[in-house]
């Protein structure tokens, strides 16, 4: 099953090209061009990984991250940042972002980070699921 990735950046050309490249690497990519769109989409669909640009007009990547983390705390978020906004990216890490990458990001590196983030999320969810199953077995006495 392909990893579902939400890609949010206000640079349409960049997002589209990157999305195509990620899709060529067997990822299912949904693109949005604003922070608002990212929040809306993240609330609607359960993505494997979300990639957010830090610097977006109106709702910034950091604000979007806060809301997404509130709605979907287990979804890993990777921040994309320009050099001058490293501090913001670090702030994002403190707010629960999985990692951050400097623009223009190397695609293979990004794919690696996405896979890593998804694997961790998957393992985490697996552990939760296992724990829940064990809990059901224990409570129902199967």
């Amino acid at each position: 099953m392909k990893i579902k990735v939400l890609l949010a950046d206000d640079e349409k050309e960049f997002v589209n090209a990157l999305a195509q490249r990620l899709e060529l690497r067997d990822l299912s990519v949904t693109t949005v061009y604003s922070g608002e769109g990212a929040i809306e989409m993240a609330e609607k669909i359960d993505f494997g990984v979300i990639v957010l640009d830090v610097l977006m007009p109106e709702i910034t990547g950091i604000d979007a991250l806060k809301k997404i983390k509130k709605a979907k705390p287990n979804t890993p978020v990777i921040m994309l940042t320009g050099e001058a906004t490293v501090e913001n990216a670090i702030q994002g890490m403190k707010l629960g972002a999985f990692d951050f990458l400097m623009k223009p990001a190397d695609t293979e590196l990004l794919v690696g980070k996405i896979t890593q983030a998804y694997t961790l999320k998957y393992e985490h969810e697996e552990r939760i699921r296992q724990a829940e199953i064990e809990n059901i077995i224990n409570t129902r006495g199967w």
């Binding site: 050309e13 960049f14 195509q20 060529l24 320009g82 050099e83 990001a105």
Partner: protein, 570 residues
């Protein structure tokens, strides 16, 4: 107005060298005036006060002497007058008319009192009716003479000195007698003036000092040492005040400056005059004046010398301070230039980064697509072209990263660092290039190098930049020497010397400016500018010395710890 004068005096414009010279000259003139004017004023006031005081001190004894001598004269004359008056009242006209009696009286007078020459009796008509003395004056009529008329009016008379028949100076004393019955007659005596000379010679006059009697019409009544003999006209002017003792200064006929003390008689028309040359009278004053002038001149020389020396030191300090200020201003301008260029660079880099990311992704996508497509004609060429685009993007990315690195605020981590250790680390980064180009790296690292508080990563960046530049400057097989030593005040000094192409003089002055590069397409022109910025931030300094064709020496110093940790961390 006042401010304008001060500005003109001290804030001078023009060539620096001339400005300092003019400033030095103005300060010296003003200081000399300020210090010497009060001194000169004091000296002048003291001069006149002391001269006046000393004059009165010098003249006072002359006054006393004149007064005392005058009293002796007056006493002499008064006594003689009293004797004649006594004779006139003791004897009557008939007694005195008797030749024998008057002879007897003259003998007695001569015996008891000095100076008497003759004596005679004059009746109311002015006729000499009786006479005792060496001359035959009997029967002579005096009615037309001043002595007779004066005696008739005042009752007594003392004449000025005159030469008698014997051609010796003498005076006449006469008194009028009026009997109870109204009979009047005059007793007249002639007295020689030897006593006058005796009295003057007994005054004990100081050297070159003259004393003499003059009549109120200016004729000498006694001989003078310098101004003539008895009855000659005195060449000195008469005192203006003739009723009390006075002193005045004159230049005599021998062109000598003299002090004159005059003391007029009350009972006769004589004036006693003491004349003393000023060179004698004011000898102590002249000595004092010379001393005072010497002290003044010596003080003046000391003051002027001190002022010149002090001004010299002051001007040198001002000059050094000005130079230092100018240097700081240049550094400040440089720092401001770096800062504004830094801000500009951030903006440019950021704006470029976005399209760069798009190009990167688009070219990457092209590559991805081509890789996933069957082979076609020109496929390798196509891949090469997209790779070239990606390489160029990578190059641009490096430039924008360095631009951002140049301008961005970095959190400096200050910790004790070992410079020798960082040098080894930096060389490890460049190991491959060193091996490949067979460069000779000569390390001369001080074993006793102190550890300083600084930023490890930033120092690494400095060394990498400087070494990269040195490597770029030398040919293969070239030599680079790295030297460390302890600096002043607990800091360290690092010297990187290469035997490369060197830097021309016109390039050196811009070498730390951003975007200044001699490597053309291979350099961003930011390396040394970043290095400069980091070293400044860490409180150090960097200098470069180069001879074209021989090589360059980059020396940087770091302090024991950065001056302002707050600024650095801020």
């Amino acid at each position: 107005m006042y401010k304008k004068i001060i500005n003109n005096l001290f804030l001078l414009e023009g060539e620096p060298q001339n400005r300092y010279k003019a400033l030095k000259r103005n300060i010296i003139i003003i200081m000399v005036l300020i210090t010497t004017l009060p001194l000169a004023t004091m000296i002048i006031i003291n001069y006149f006060q002391y001269r006046s005081h000393l004059r009165s001190q010098i003249i006072a004894p002359l006054y006393a002497m004149a007064e005392k001598t005058k009293h002796s004269f007056e006493l002499f004359l008064d006594q003689r007058l009293a004797i004649i008056r006594f004779v006139s009242t003791t004897y009557n006209f008939e007694d005195l008319s008797n030749e024998k009696d008057i002879e007897k009286i003259l003998l007695s007078l001569k015996k008891e009192w000095s100076g008497f020459v003759d004596i005679g009796l004059i009746n109311k008509d002015g006729e000499l009716v009786s006479y005792a003395g060496p001359y035959s004056l009997l029967g002579k009529n005096y009615s037309e003479q001043i002595s007779f008329q004066e005696t008739q009016i005042k009752g007594k008379y003392i004449s000025n000195v005159f030469l008698g028949h014997r051609k010796s100076p003498h005076i006449v004393i006469a008194v009028q007698h009026i009997t109870d019955k109204g009979q009047t007659w005059i007793l007249r005596a002639t007295i020689d003036t030897d006593f006058f000379d005796n009295l003057i010679s007994s005054m004990g006059l100081p050297r070159q000092t003259d004393a003499f009697l003059i009549s109120k019409d200016g004729f000498l009544q006694t001989d003078s040492l310098y101004y003539g003999n008895t009855l000659e006209k005195c060449p000195l002017p008469l005192p203006k005040i003739q009723f009390r003792s006075t002193s005045f200064e004159e230049t005599d006929d021998k062109n000598r400056d003299i002090i004159l003390v005059s003391s007029p008689f009350s009972i006769a028309d004589y004036i006693l005059v003491i004349a003393q040359p000023q060179s004698v009278a004011l000898k102590s004053w002249y000595a004092f004046r010379t001393d005072m002038m010497i002290i003044f001149l010596v003080s003046l020389v000391i003051i002027v010398f001190s002022i010149i020396k002090m001004t010299d030191v002051l001007i040198k300090r001002i000059k050094t301070s000005d130079e230092h200020r100018e240097k700081v201003l240049v550094e400040l301008q440089h720092a401001q230039k770096l800062s504004s260029i830094g801000r500009l660079a951030t903006g440019v880099a950021h704006e470029i980064n976005n399209p760069l990311a798009i190009i990167n992704q688009k070219a990457g996508l092209m590559n991805d697509l081509v890789e996933r497509t069957k082979d076609f004609d020109k496929k390798p060429k196509f891949v090469d072209l997209t790779n070239a685009i990606l390489n160029s993007v990578e190059r641009c990315k490096k430039i924008t990263h360095r631009l951002l690195c140049f301008s961005k605020r970095i959190d400096v981590k200050i910790e004790p660092v070992n410079m020798n250790h960082i040098i080894h680390e930096a060389l490890e980064f460049l190991e491959k290039e060193i091996l490949y180009r067979k460069m000779d790296i000569n390390l001369n690292l001080s074993e006793s190098l102190v550890s300083v508080k600084s930023d490890h990563g930033q120092i690494q960046q400095i060394l990498l930049n400087l070494l990269t530049n040195a490597f770029a400057a030398i040919e293969d097989l070239g030599r680079v020497e790295i030297e460390t030593e302890n600096g002043k005040d607990g800091g360290i000094k690092v010297k990187i010397t290469d035997n490369g192409c060197g830097i021309p003089k016109d390039v050196i002055k811009n070498i730390f400016d951003p975007f200044f590069s001699t490597k053309k397409e291979n350099g961003t022109g930011l390396g040394l500018s970043i290095t400069y910025g980091i070293i400044k931030k860490l409180g150090g300094k960097i200098s470069v010395d180069s001879n074209p064709g021989e090589g360059s020496v980059f020396t940087f110093e770091l302090p024991e710890k950065p001056n302002d940790m707050e600024t650095i961390n801020g």
